[in-house]
């Protein structure tokens, strides 16, 4: 089976600085793949290259066997490559239901409909409400996003991504800023996603990574240092060196 997401010698420079150095990453179908690395390793740049926010200087991004390097961000989303953001990117003045209905409408290709009110697109409203309820947000459906607690906003961040029905979901530090008690719940929610959704997780919290991932890639100075099963990464000498001083078990 073709990998869900693959990069071929992906290269990106900022001036003379090489942020992404010939990265060839392969994420298998249905994987729970984690991408780790110290600060400044180039994780965010890599995500931006995968989603099309940045263009690579060389190399290719391949989604389910198709080269998507030339596609714009929204076109990649239409093909199932969807991300969440490390820092929330939400629609502050919309209610939770409005936000997610907007995302569902876009997925269904209704984003250009200009005559019928949003509320009359019943299938989209129902789907958005179901999705939010399944994430435990039923109580706050009609509250403006800005008024919600951070943990709840974090869930809307994920709901917006799920509304696009990803086949490959890139989670950029989903638990960032969420209190430990809530981050456990958050990861339980993520762990319940069906295996038809491939997940690439970028995360700082090693505890979470080792609990969640079945495969780990380590990025250092813009290049892939190692890729293996978690138990082998945990004992990998080079990886330990990079994280020296930073305890591996969190």
């Amino acid at each position: 089976m073709k990998p869900a997401l693959q990069t071929r010698r992906l290269l990106r420079k900022f001036g003379g600085y090489i942020a992404t150095n010939e990265v060839s990453l392969s994420v298998e179908q249905g994987a729970r793949h984690a991408l780790i690395g110290p600060n400044g390793a180039g994780k965010t740049t890599l995500i931006n290259l995968l989603t099309g926010f940045l263009e690579p200087d060389a190399g290719a991004v391949i989604l389910n066997g198709n080269d998507v390097t030339q596609l714009a961000q929204h076109q990649r989303v239409k093909r199932g490559l969807v991300r969440t953001f490390q820092i929330n990117k939400l629609f502050a003045d919309m209610s939770a239901l409005e936000s997610v209905t907007l995302a569902v409408c876009e997925r269904l290709g209704w984003g250009w409909n200009w005559w019928r009110p949003v509320g009359d697109h019943q299938a989209a409203v129902d789907e958005a409400a179901e999705l939010l309820s399944s994430l435990g947000l039923r109580e706050v459906l009609n509250q403006p996003t800005r008024s919600l607690a951070y943990g709840k906003q974090r869930l809307i961040e994920i709901a917006l991504a799920l509304a696009a029905r990803p086949t490959v979901l890139l989670l950029d530090e989903p638990a960032a800023g969420v209190p430990a008690s809530e981050s456990r719940e958050l990861f339980e929610t993520i762990a319940q996603l069906p295996r038809s959704v491939t997940i690439l997780l970028i995360e700082h919290d090693m505890d979470l990574v080792f609990r969640f991932a079945d495969r780990i890639s380590v990025l250092v100075n813009g290049a892939l240092l190692a890729e293996d099963k978690p138990e082998l990464i945990a004992v990998d000498k080079r990886v330990r060196e990079v994280y020296l001083g930073v305890s591996l078990d969190g």
Partner: protein
């Protein structure tokens, strides 16, 4: 999965586009104004026309978040288009509106590719620049536009072949109000549609929109074009109801005042555009009558007060007032 969702939980969104009682009441105002101020019909027509112009800015600024200091470019395009047609024997008003909308819309479509590139500051400069270029072009092309003397010889035919434009401005008033209402109705449908919601999404978080699969650039081109067409219709209305086009349809002050009106009323709400225009133009009228030389002082004072104490404009004040009344009730 959760238990069945109740309709009541979805109603706030499902019924968001329903007409409210106060809206019906609001649209009785132009009717009432006709009978209460029969001698001020020309001012009232101007208000209706400018309100339409303000709607055009609200669509791009209030909804999509595109700042513009050059909306007069499209107002002027529409005004000259309708004027030139009427000066060359094609004075049918509705045809004039359509052609004006088309030409201004084309102008909007073409310039959108310049305007939408940058950030807010770039957009301010580019919209300003486009309007200035058109102003000077109209100034220079005296044979076509009459330059500073204005476009002469405009003959507008009876509306729908039947209603003459009378000296009292009755036809002009009803014409302006009906066109305003029709285009308001259309704008209201649009802002409540998925397309309209996506525009708000772009304003509230432009970085998120591509990540939910929305083509931001295409949406902005569409709304910018639409907004230009609206402005063009407003310009055409002014030409047809005054039977004259002067260079100041393209003037910077027209764009700047429009921005003030929208901020005064409350951007991002169609009624904000309407109310802001009415308040601004009424204040303008009375203040300049009281004090022809220094009236702008009071207008300035009003604006400073609005920005200090009512960031979201008159509409924001009204919404808060309703909140207080409900609490105390």
């Amino acid at each position: 999965m959760s238990t069945q969702l109740k309709p009541a939980e979805l109603d706030p969104l499902r019924r968001a586009a329903d007409w409210q009682r106060w809206e019906y009441a609001f649209w009785l105002l132009p009717l009432a104004a006709y009978f209460i101020f029969p001698k001020s019909l020309s001012l009232l027509s101007q208000i209706a026309i400018t309100a339409l112009f303000a709607l055009s800015l609200d669509l791009i600024l209030g909804y999509a978040g595109i700042v513009s200091l050059g909306q007069a470019a499209f107002f002027g395009l529409g005004a000259y288009a309708a004027g030139l047609m009427a000066a060359h024997g094609m004075g049918d008003p509705t045809l004039g509106l359509l052609v004006a909308a088309l030409i201004a819309g084309c102008g909007g479509f073409i310039s959108s590719f310049l305007v939408l590139r940058g950030t807010d500051l770039t957009r301010l400069m580019v919209t300003l620049g486009v309007a200035m270029m058109l102003y000077e072009a109209a100034n220079k092309l005296t044979e076509l536009t009459g330059g500073v003397d204005g476009l002469q010889g405009i003959e507008v035919k009876p509306l729908l072949g039947y209603f003459n434009f009378d000296l009292y401005g009755k036809t002009a008033y009803w014409y302006s109000v009906v066109v305003l209402f029709a285009l308001f109705f259309l704008a209201r449908r649009i802002v409540h549609s998925p397309f309209g919601l996506s525009l708000q999404g772009i304003r509230q978080n432009v970085g998120r929109m591509p990540a939910i699969g929305a083509p931001v650039h295409g949406r902005l081109v569409a709304v910018y074009t639409l907004s230009a067409a609206y402005a063009g219709v407003a310009g055409a209305l002014l030409t047809q109801t005054t039977q004259f086009v002067s260079l100041d349809v393209l003037a910077f002050s027209r764009s700047a005042e429009l921005l003030l009106m929208l901020v005064l009323g409350g951007a991002g709400c169609l009624y904000g555009a309407l109310i802001g225009t009415a308040v601004f133009m009424t204040a303008h009228h009375f203040l300049s009558n009281m004090n022809p030389q220094y009236w702008q002082f009071w207008l300035g004072a009003l604006l400073v007060l609005i920005v200090l104490f009512a960031r979201d404009g008159v509409i924001g004040l009204l919404v808060r007032l309703r909140g207080w009344l409900r609490k105390s009730a």
